[in-house]
Amino acid sequence: MSNSIEELAGTDFLLVAGSNTTEAHPVISLRMKRAVKNGAKLVVVDPRKIELTKWATRHVQIKVGTDIPFFNAVANVILNEELQDSRFIRDRTEGFEAFARHVQMYTPEYSAEICGITPEEIIETAREFAAAAPKAAICYTLGITEHSCGSHNVQSLGNLGLLCGTLGVPNGGVNPLRGQNNVQGAGDAGCIPTDLPGYQKVERPGIRAMFEKAWDAPLPKRRGITKITAMEQMIKGRVKAVYVMGENTVVSDPHANHAEHALRSVDFLVVQDIFLTETAQLADVVLPAASFAESDGTFGNSERRIQRVRPAVSPPGEARSDVDILLEMFARMGKPQKLKTSKDVFTEMASVSPIYGGLSHERLDREGGIQWPCGDEDDPGTEYLHGDEFESGFPGFFAPVDHIPPAEEPDDEYPWLLTTGRRRSTYHTGTQTGQASGFQLLVPHEMLEINPLDAADMGLMDGDLLDVSSRRGKVTVSARVTERSPRGLVFMSFAFPEITRTNDVTSDAYDFITETPEFKACAVKISKSEYQDEDVRVAQRRIRLAGEVKQPTELMPADGRGDK
């Protein structure tokens, strides 16, 4: 996030796009609700009637994948009515002229047609956003990024920030809300094929030289391959060995069959995790790791705040912390490290990464979490980015982007659009919430949310078992008839991988720049399942066992789990 979570409570205008905040980031949604209570306007841009719309001043119910025409039209209105922040544009941005020309064709009428809304909704949103600026915050999440045009979606939001000068000010910003607890930290640490720690580019010779000196080792010059490319290369036989730490790829990836196939294709797979996950079951070697509650270190949250994680108990059996395992691996590869503890590792990381420069475990213990960039001991950290200049050091660049429809759209054979997301009481692949007692009662199994009118057309009732299939796979779920879904759009999460691998059906398209998978749109067909009288879990399992997809637990020995 460019700004801070708490700042949201004090803003005058919130634009929330593609974020089911009450479910995916409940505690951030509290700040949004508080802002509304304090008199802020809240505009929710989402195809589904999500819970947050209850607090919204306006719910703009655009069609899936039409974010760009919507935001371009908002820019169009701002420019036509001369509501932009000309000083900000002059002093801090580039590419304005071209952008202004570009959005001319996106009149409210033109975009309203594409988005399936009225021109007034666009015009009002534009006026309110501009009136509140700079105290106008934009928040978005996977509903924006998990599209084949995800990075363009993000740019179209960024354009609005530049246009009205809502960047580099408190209570504003363009704020991605991070999905998993330490996505931020993993990126900060340099787990990116192009970036060394602190987002320093590996292909820049000066940077590389600095790291070679600090690490006293030669470094590979060429950027590495992303996960998506890596999976293709595995299938082609070019990747021989894979080392996976703490990630249930087989379930979390779109088009799960593809991920499983890729990992089965390599000669040697090592998985380091806390459970024998679907991915670990494919491994040649499984290394038992410590959970967060047994680990010493830090997590970086959505607002770039680095917070201490402390061990409360010892790991079970012979399990060891990820840090210990990796240090041992270094030694066995003939590259022993002087580092011993997590604290030593942090100190080294801070010494090579300027955004962490002023941070240490001691300081975080003393002062609590601190937001990067934090250059030195006296730097209190940064509540909002881009204050006097953009972090990149360059002016903000207006990106003229165009509407690109989702890679797969409904047709005669697959007439429904399926979108996926999160539910509050389940999390990602369910490896952890699946273990918590009582959660089965909250969301007992996967459900397909469908509009009441659509359900009536098909003669469906709440709880009916449905077969949902796409060009790639099939799952069985029970129907949840709800107005949250607009007509023609159905929704599922992916928290019950053992019985419903939602991602067997999702699209295999990727964003062409960031390679983020298009989880948010694919075409499916729906029919009533033949097993109506059965318990849904039994039926789901039956479908799985019927050979649509291999059941990984069949490969499992008793020996791996449950052994104390």
Binding site: K37, N181, V183, P193, G246, V285, V286, V313, L442, R561
Partner: protein, 372 residues
């Protein structure tokens, strides 16, 4: 200068007030409560109906103090009264201490037993217990009132309600309605009969309750407790706490893990973290059971020819991994190996993973699961 607005309150254009608390000079911002000034000066009084996140109600009267301003002396509830220039505050006069003690003894007379409180016994003293101890309030100072019916039939697996301990402070309904804005619970009835109910008297599972646990965590007496925690065989003397971060989403709420003999028994919010004590159902009720799951991996495993796993020593596992990696580097080059880090593990491990890929293997083939 810019004015940063947090909580709707303007900062940056601050006016300061000077006042005395028990003769200690303090300075606080205009608009501060007397309670804030007392806090600044380091004096504490019980505040049984106050939660800073939803503001003051002034109903429990426990925070009563004596203030003198412009020659006038009066007793005010420090949670509702505002600090004034030149004010002097006395927090612990004999009269006020007696008053607090009497209030506590009256509350005690409504509870059936001095030693059946599930939270006090299993987890540790509640806010109410600490006040009772500090003011030496006695259970038998007043005749026992008719004890409220404590049987609450609500089958939900998360929240236990023991109305016997309810002191009608309404913190729970306020936090639910004002902060979480779930509107799941409300106060019903009057006076001694008043109690906390779900709207329309439904069970919680059928109410709009999000099971965020905020009501449990603000409850000062243990009338509302985390059923998962208090149903365990544990004793408060042996409970430890560790401040850490919720393992689920990118909000990164602060939590405290409760442990008992090297085993996790529950989680509570860390009120000192920037999340200000907020949690959601996952942080409150799902952040620890998986840690002690029977299914946790306990040994390194190596797959055998028939597809089953065999338990091995760490030495055997790591030797196998390093020899396979070395072979791959020698025959196919370092770029034939790929390392994936994780958004679920600590940053330090991620740092080591990318360094391992780059230095020990010699490839930039390092990625993590998500780009969001």
């Amino acid at each position: 200068m810019t004015t940063v607005s947090v909580n709707g309150r303007a900062q940056g254009t601050t006016k300061w007030l000077d006042l005395y608390v028990n003769s200690v000079a303090v300075r606080c911002e205009e608009g501060s409560r007397v309670l804030d000034a007392m806090d600044e000066a380091g004096f504490e009084v019980p505040t049984l109906c106050y939660d800073e996140r939803v503001g003051a109600q002034g109903t429990c009267r426990m925070c009563l103090v004596e203030v003198e301003v412009n020659g006038r002396t009066e007793q005010v509830a420090s949670c509702t009264a505002f600090a004034e220039e030149g004010m002097s505050v006395a927090t612990h006069t004999e009269e006020i201490k007696d008053y607090r003690k009497t209030l506590l003894e009256m509350l005690l007379s409504e509870m059936s037993s001095p030693n059946a409180n599930p939270y006090s016994n299993k987890v540790g003293p509640t806010e109410f217990d600490r006040a009772v101890e500090e003011y030496e309030a006695r259970w038998d100072a007043f005749p026992r009132l008719r004890v409220r019916d404590k049987a609450v039939h609500d089958e939900n697996p998360f929240i236990q309600r023991d109305y016997d301990y309810c002191i009608a402070c309404y913190r729970c309904t306020n936090i639910c309605n004002e902060w979480e804005q779930a509107a799941a619970i409300t106060v019903d009835g009057r006076g001694q009969e008043s109690s906390i109910f779900t709207f329309f008297g439904n069970e919680l599972m059928d109410s709009p309750c999000t099971f965020c646990g905020q009501c449990i965590n603000t409850c000062p007496t243990g009338a509302l407790t985390d059923r998962k925690v208090v149903s365990q065989e544990i004793s408060a003397e042996e409970v430890d706490r560790t401040q850490t971060i919720c393992p689920y989403c990118g909000v990164g709420c602060g939590i405290e893990l409760l442990t008992h003999e090297d085993e996790i028994i529950g989680a509570e919010p860390d009120f000192t973290a920037p999340s200000r004590g907020s949690l959601c159902v996952k942080g409150q009720f799902a952040s620890w059971e998986f840690v002690r799951s029977e299914d946790r991996l306990r040994h390194p495993l190596v797959k055998q020819a028939d597809g089953t796993f065999r338990k091995v020593t760490w030495d055997e596992a790591l030797d196998l991994v390093s020899s396979k990696f070395k072979d791959a580097i020698a025959t196919e080059g370092p770029d034939s190996i790929v390392c994936w880090a994780s958004a679920r593990v600590v940053t330090e491990a991620n740092y080591l993973m990318q360094k391992f890929a780059r230095v020990a293997i010699g490839t930039n083939n390092i990625d993590n699961c998500s780009r969001t």
